[in-house]
């Protein structure tokens, strides 16, 4: 569990103001790969700032082609898990936004039942979470599921 204060976590719009359905609706209006990836890039740019002090080994998710960091905090009041994710690659950040729209600000029990793969499938982005991709995205999802299990 991160030492960063809860307010920093709660400032994230993902999972509250921006949910799966919002992303899916926006995506439906995009015609070609250029528009879809421009949208992913914009999502990536809109990801809340990740504390520099938390870019440490224990928060690091190994991927061959890009680096990913993930921290979490449990709000004992509402019993929800709050997540922050960072990557050095913008598209990975954009895809992390999709992950956060799904899992952020949810209870561990909710996270266990939520399916992000179906969403990636609908968005025709499923290749990004295939086991052969070394971008750490799949490990990112597994890490979130693990955190939910341990909380």
């Amino acid at each position: 569990m991160s030492e960063i204060d809860l307010a920093t976590f709660k400032a994230s719009p993902f999972g509250t103001e921006i949910c799966q359905t919002d992303i899916l609706e926006a995506f439906e209006f995009l015609d070609d790969w250029e528009e879809r990836y421009s949208y992913i890039i914009d999502l990536g740019k809109s990801l809340p700032a990740f504390p520099e002090s938390e870019k440490i080994e224990q928060n690091f998710i190994h991927g061959c082609q890009s680096q990913v960091w993930l921290i979490h905090k449990m709000d004992e009041a509402d019993k929800k898990l709050y997540l922050l994710i960072e990557s050095d690659a913008i598209i990975v950040k954009g895809l992390a936004a999709v992950v956060l729209a799904t899992f952020n600000a949810k209870t561990p029990d909710e996270i266990k039942t939520l399916d992000v793969e179906a969403l990636f499938e609908k968005m025709d982005l499923i290749r990004h979470i295939s086991p052969t991709r070394g971008n750490g995205l799949r490990s990112m999802i597994e890490r979130v599921k693990l955190i939910a299990q341990n909380n």
């Binding site: 790969w33 250029e34 990836y37 421009s38 890039i41 061959c64 082609q65 890009s66 680096q67 050095d88 690659a89 913008i90 598209i91 990975v92 990004h128 070394g134 971008n135």
Partner: protein, 408 residues
């Protein structure tokens, strides 16, 4: 078109995989340094072998076994000729370059002593670093590093100051998989030999681009892979001078590599079989020979001219992309261009090129010490082969410009 005499249309017809669409765009394959595509001759050789000759080698008392053995050993002769080895027994089949280096490093570790020094270069692939570290750990040897300059060329003069009475092995790559640099290995080998070092050359990135003559180089060992040389995966070549191979202990025990086995004592088979325990990769060896025959049947001079034209065009057009930095600007290069673009992550470049049908490699390219030295976490790498066209190079830069606009 380039001014070479290569008929690219004809050549591309020999590589059926190139004729497809990826993500709705014509495939542009710029990752041959990771694995090269296979000509029809290779595909046909694999099928022919399994349809007609499949059998174990050196064993069967029957016709198929004889045919398989004959073709398998003929492939060894093809490789011998390809690199101009003195004798066929100097050609050992391995799983690949990596296994070949492991065989050498593991074998030499039994004769190296504590404090002995192994020299590798800053630009080595992990496959030419880690086996030496493992060997060093076993025998107490020390790894010394030959450095590079800003262009990505080896600091040849530094070798003189590295060499001392404890220096025992020099292991360097002929061509850098990241930078494309062609190293002056002959000079390095001569310097090392004067000091009595054993020389090991990683030729994986060299043999697909220019002719290699191991007798002219006079190295003790030279290793490379089939799959980067238009042949099948799972097969590599370990060339070693006979005397070196004789004194190197076997790597694995089992069938084929023995002469006589009893529970008291086992005597090993002669070269090259001493290093070929178990049933070898037969169809791979046979079809690899087809790859070499195809490749050497091309006008090699024209191949080099064409590949250099691809590289020159890429370097020229790179100037038109603001913020693009080429990593590796050695004077002697194979057609490999590593680069980074300011503000863009290599993985983003790779993803968005893939959307446009273009396959490149991104990341650390199994050369983390080099990445650390360059101060980058990874690069994007476009690597070309003779079947690539100048139009494909143009398309790479059109696509890169488009990506840059998407991030603007």
């Amino acid at each position: 078109m380039s001014n070479s005499t290569l008929n690219l249309d004809e050549i591309r017809q020999q590589f059926p995989i190139l004729n497809q669409e990826v993500n709705g765009k014509p495939l542009i394959y710029l990752d041959s340094a990771a694995s090269a595509q296979k000509p029809l001759a290779v595909l046909e050789a694999i099928e022919h072998y399994y349809r007609n000759d499949n059998s174990n080698v050196h064993r069967g008392a029957h016709t198929l076994g004889d045919r398989a053995t004959k073709n398998f050993e003929a492939a060894r002769d093809t490789v011998q000729k390809f690199i101009n080895a003195k004798s066929r027994q100097e050609i050992i089949w391995t799983k690949g370059t990596t296994e070949a280096i492991n065989i050498i490093a593991s074998g030499l570790s039994s004769s190296l002593e504590k404090g002995d020094e192994i020299i590798v270069s800053r630009m080595e692939h992990h496959a030419n670093i880690v086996p030496w570290q493992m060997a060093a750990e076993k025998c107490g040897a020390i790894i010394r590093v030959l450095d590079i300059n800003e262009q990505g060329e080896l600091n040849v003069d530094q070798l003189d100051s590295l060499l001392n009475e404890r220096s025992k092995v020099l292991a360097v790559t002929h061509v850098s998989n990241v930078l494309g640099t062609i190293n002056p290995v002959k000079t390095l080998i001569q310097k090392a030999q004067k000091n009595g070092l054993i020389t090991v050359i990683d030729g994986a990135q060299a043999v697909p681009h220019f002719q290699v003559d191991v007798q002219d180089l006079d190295c003790d060992f030279y290793v490379f892979s089939s799959h980067k040389l238009f042949g099948p995966t799972g097969l590599g070549v370990l060339y070693g001078k006979t005397a070196q191979l004789e004194s190197l202990p076997p790597y694995q025990g089992g069938g084929e590599m023995i002469e006589r086995v009893s529970f008291d004592h086992t005597t090993y088979n002669v070269l090259p079989y001493k290093f070929e325990a178990g049933t070898p990769a037969i169809s791979e060896a046979v079809s690899f020979a087809a790859a070499i025959d195809y490749f050497t049947g091309l006008d090699r001079a024209a191949v080099e001219v064409h590949e250099q034209a691809l590289l020159v065009s890429a370097h020229e057009q790179a100037k038109n992309i603001p913020g693009l930095r080429i990593i590796g600007t050695a004077k002697q290069k194979v057609p490999v261009m590593s680069f980074e673009i300011e503000g863009l992550h290599s993985s983003d470049i790779g993803t968005l090129l893939d959307q446009q049908g273009i396959g490149i490699r991104t990341g650390h390219h199994c050369a983390m010490p080099l990445m650390d030295y360059l101060g980058v976490s990874g690069t994007a790498r476009a690597s070309f082969a003779f079947y690539n066209t100048l139009e494909e190079v143009d398309q790479l830069f059109t696509s890169l410009a488009k990506i840059q606009r998407m991030f603007a």
